[in-house]
């Protein structure tokens, strides 16, 4: 492994933010390569500032580097100026730790967190000097693998990625290391490696499957070989407490997003918001023991020198005993009142605001809530059961306790949505601003509006996405309504980018040609508005004989084959369909952590349970609504304090307000 640094450094004077390319973070390892070790290059297909904080990548970085048979380094997508300088000087993609050429690694492993980064995946493979199409690689090339949430519809990248890992990566990277190590020593053909990888649980190798089409419609994706599973089930770690990673979170030399200590308090979510792919594909809920959270926070602050910690999860206020964990940090004399705690995805209720008031003693800037829908009807459809009075109480509590800025997240283009639902957004946000003015003459409420993109493995996976014209019209309605509303700021996501995200998120294997078309014409960094280019996507679609109408805007039929049917997040297809029907009928569904099981499949199919520390739902009830939860049934919940007992306590549970 030779260092390219002498060739890299002269380029740095020519580019913006040169420190993106120097590594040197606290926590970065000095790589020790050797023939007995499988060399992984972990890649994030976006800029350093976006990619560095990614916790999934950091977790795998540590786990791999702790192994005797593996070594891992990192690389992020070079910005366009650096890419141009690298190509002009014939400098390939390189690792940050050892400045080693990417092509010298055994594995190029991508984190897929957003669909619009896919052209960057191709660009990074190309910058590594590796053929972008899997079928053109030979045994001298690294094997290209990918994981992360977007891997749950792997088909758009099937031509370019050799193997996808579905679900939690903690254990899977070890299995992959062993298989690749054995193959490396055997000197076998590339095909042998791919066949072996296809036998690893949770690993999908697209070249071992054939996609069948009939008249422009996908009819199935089936194994080409015996012994290759028909349907690949995701990997799930049963106990988050066994994986206290990252132990040495990377502290970058330059400012990045989420630039603070991150401690994951639980994985999975059962609130059941029907638009939310993350909540569906990461089930069941697995909480980290509170003492471990406390320890990780303490050690992390000590080690890093950060003065802010985020307790991460999909809904951190739901963590059992969140109050205790938070007050321990806040009242720790060693932190001497200088440490602030932040909770992403705040639940909408007064309890949460009380919590926020306690933790943001130091810096009380803004609070964010996500009602997502503008009317109660809409929120029942999406199963985000926040009543108007819950939101107003939360906002009232926030403004009365000194906050001046409140941000509200909404979606437009949801199933069954009417103009009345859309206008509910500005009405609701305007009412929040009115509440704020009772406490302070100058408050701002920002309504941030995104276009809804249906995602794989969710109840809305069959839903035809709103056209970009329709989304534009709805944004127009909101702009008009917001104009006369005092204290309200409206922000919206570009409907064109939303349409393209839809193209990729539910696309089948044919979408690969479109992604390649866009990339070959320079379409990188498509999630950056200054680089996004709709024309490239439109011409790519035309060239592939596809269009937005059929791939994005069309409602799927119940029995239609979906591009991701052969990979599984553990969820039963009929559960998802049933839940879609419930949505259309405007029926909400309570959180199954504290109510009977709906048999979504995630627990039973995977042989694990929800693991929560408390038998009672958080204050405010299972959805923060104080609904009557007094319905009986069997709950697949294991309580942490009674370790080992597979409690499935039947009988009555009570909601606590």
């Amino acid at each position: 492994m030779t260092s390219l640094w002498p060739r890299i450094e002269p380029l740095l004077a020519q580019v913006t933010k040169p420190a993106r390319y120097i590594g040197g973070e606290l926590g970065a390892r000095r790589p020790s390569h050797g023939p007995e070790r499988v060399a992984w290059l972990l890649l994030y297909p976006d800029t350093y500032e976006i990619g560095l904080p990614n916790q999934g990548l950091q977790i795998l970085y540590e786990i791999l580097n702790e192994r005797d048979d593996a070594v891992a380094e990192r690389a992020y997508a070079p910005w366009t100026d650096m890419e141009a300088a690298m190509r002009a000087a014939s400098v390939p993609l390189f690792s940050l730790e050892g400045s080693t050429a990417a092509g010298e690694f055994d594995v190029l492993a991508f984190n897929l967190s957003a669909e619009l980064t896919y052209t960057n995946v191709l660009n990074m493979i190309d910058l590594a000097g590796v053929p972008v199409r899997g079928d053109q690689r030979d045994p001298s090339h690294p094997v290209v693998v990918a994981g992360g949430h977007c891997a749950f519809n792997p088909e758009p990248l099937a031509d370019f990625v050799d193997a996808f890992v579905l679900g939690d990566g903690e254990e899977a990277v070890g299995d992959l290391t062993e298989v690749i190590g054995v193959w490396k020593r055997s000197g076998g053909a590339r095909h042998d490696l791919l066949r072996s990888l296809a036998g690893v649980p949770g690993v999908y190798v697209p070249s071992c499957y054939e996609a069948h089409f009939d008249g422009g419609r996908l009819t199935g994706v089936t194994p080409r070989y015996a012994g290759v599973p028909k349907r690949v089930e995701k990997r799930t770690i049963a106990d988050l407490g066994e994986w206290p990673y990252p132990k040495q979170q990377l502290v970058p030399l330059i400012e990045v997003v989420h630039d603070r200590l991150n401690v994951e308090v639980f994985r999975g979510c059962t609130r059941g918001c029907r638009f939310c792919q993350a909540g569906m594909i990461t089930r069941p809920v697995r909480e980290r023991p509170a003492e471990q959270v406390d320890q990780m926070v303490r050690d992390g602050l000590d080690r890093t020198g950060y003065d802010e910690v985020t307790l991460t999860s999909l809904s951190s206020a739901d963590f059992s005993g969140i109050g205790e964990v938070v007050s321990k940090v806040i009242n720790d004399p060693e932190c001497s009142g200088q440490v602030s705690v932040s909770l992403p995805s705040l639940r909408v209720d007064a309890f949460t605001v009380g919590l926020a008031a306690e933790i943001q003693k130091v810096r009380r800037t803004g609070l964010t809530f996500a009602p997502e829908g503008g009317t109660w009807r809409m929120r029942q459809v999406i199963n985000k059961l926040i009543r108007e009075e819950d939101l107003y109480a939360a906002v009232d509590a926030a403004f009365s306790q000194g906050w001046r800025r409140v941000k509200l997240y909404f979606l437009i283009g949801l199933p069954t949505e009417t103009d009345e639902d859309v206008l509910g957004i500005t009405r609701l946000a305007g009412a929040c601003a009115d509440i704020g003015r009772r406490y302070h003459p100058n408050v701002t409420v920002t309504a941030s509006v995104g276009g809804f993109v249906p995602k794989a493995h969710t109840p809305f996976q069959w839903f035809g996405q709103n056209t970009m014209e329709e989304l534009r019209r709805k944004v127009g309605l909101l702009k008009d309504a917001a104009r006369g509303t005092r204290g309200l700021t409206l922000r919206w996501h570009d409907p064109e980018a939303t349409a393209v995200e839809g193209l990729v998120s539910r696309g089948d294997r044919r979408m690969g040609a479109v992604i390649e078309h866009v990339w070959r014409r320079g379409g990188t960094f498509q999630e950056w508005s200054e680089h996004f280019d709709l024309d490239l996507w439109t011409t790519g679609l035309e060239a592939a004989g596809l269009d937005f109408d059929d791939t994005v805007y069309r409602h799927r039929a119940e029995d239609e084959v979906l591009a991701w049917d052969h990979v599984s997040a553990g969820l039963h297809r009929d559960f998802l369909w049933q839940d879609f029907q419930e949505a259309l009928a405007e029926h909400g569904l309570e959180d199954c952590r504290w109510t009977p099981c709906y048999d979504c499949g995630a627990c039973t199919g995977l042989g694990v349970e929800h693991m929560v520390a408390s038998a009672v739902p958080p204050a405010g009830g299972s959805q923060g609504t104080g609904q009557d939860l007094a319905s009986g049934g069997t709950v697949p919940v294991r309580f942490l304090e009674r370790a080992g007992s597979l409690s499935a306590a039947g009988g009555t549970r009570e909601g606590v307000r």
């Binding site: 450094e9 040169p18 590594g23 040197g24």
Partner: protein, 232 residues
């Protein structure tokens, strides 16, 4: 109590910005549990005061920082505790207690010494360029400011220039650049001289007072050992 520390910025870390260095220090001081004084108010900030910004990409063996403390601390202890917490290439080389009423670095520092590698030039040719620059009544350079082209005269800030001989396929330029009316960057000097800019290193900051020159922190220069080779 205020402590002034002198530190280096050498090797790869030179590609970080002045602001990045400030953040490195904040974290290192917290990790070292140094009793830094915080500002009052809604968003308390540690009371640190850095001197002249070092342009991104330049090295330095003479960076300074003033730290306000809540309780007394031996400067040597601070240097030791925090030094090990800073990234490679950032080393504390000296620290001392500031007399009450000492001016800030921004107010006091009047000029900086630089050693600048000029690639692909013979020392004789650099000598010619230096002579021409020093003889010129003005040294105009064009730069963009707020989207508009402006012309600045560097001459008043160019206090001394000399060629120190050949240096790795080029020549070594020594410069003393004043901080008023405004600080001159090595890249601007190179532009004015019509030469390429290689690695530039700040070697000294001077305070001019009553006709004599002082370093911001009196230290034994033999205590600072810095190899010319890059740390990376």
């Amino acid at each position: 109590m205020r402590i002034r520390a002198r530190f280096t910025k050498l090797g790869r870390v030179r590609w970080t910005s002045h602001r990045d260095v400030a953040r490195m220090w904040e974290r290192a001081l917290r990790r070292g549990r140094v009793p830094v004084a915080y500002t009052e108010g809604f968003t308390p900030r540690p009371q640190l005061s850095f001197g002249l910004a070092l342009p991104t990409g330049c090295e330095s063996v003479a960076e300074y920082l003033d730290i306000a403390l809540d309780s007394a601390l031996e400067p040597a202890d601070l240097a030791r505790e925090v030094g090990s917490m800073l990234p490679d290439g950032v080393d504390v080389v000296a620290a001392g207690v500031l007399e009450p009423g000492t001016n800030s670095l921004q107010e006091d520092v009047s000029s900086c010494l630089w050693e600048i590698h000029v690639p692909r030039v013979a020392p004789e040719d650099l000598d010619v360029a230096i002579e021409r620059a020093l003889d010129a009544p003005t040294l105009p350079i064009r730069r963009e400011r707020k989207g508009r082209d402006v012309v600045d005269d560097l001459r008043p800030s160019v206090l001394a220039l000399s060629c120190a001989g050949p240096d790795a396929g080029g020549a070594l330029l020594r410069a003393e650049l004043g901080t008023r009316p405004r600080g001159v960057r090595p890249s601007e000097l190179a532009q004015a001289l019509g030469v390429e800019l290689g690695l530039a290193r700040r070697t000294c900051q001077w305070i001019e007072r009553d006709g004599s020159r002082w370093e911001p922190l009196m230290v034994d220069p033999s205590g600072i050992t810095v190899p010319w080779e890059r740390a990376s």
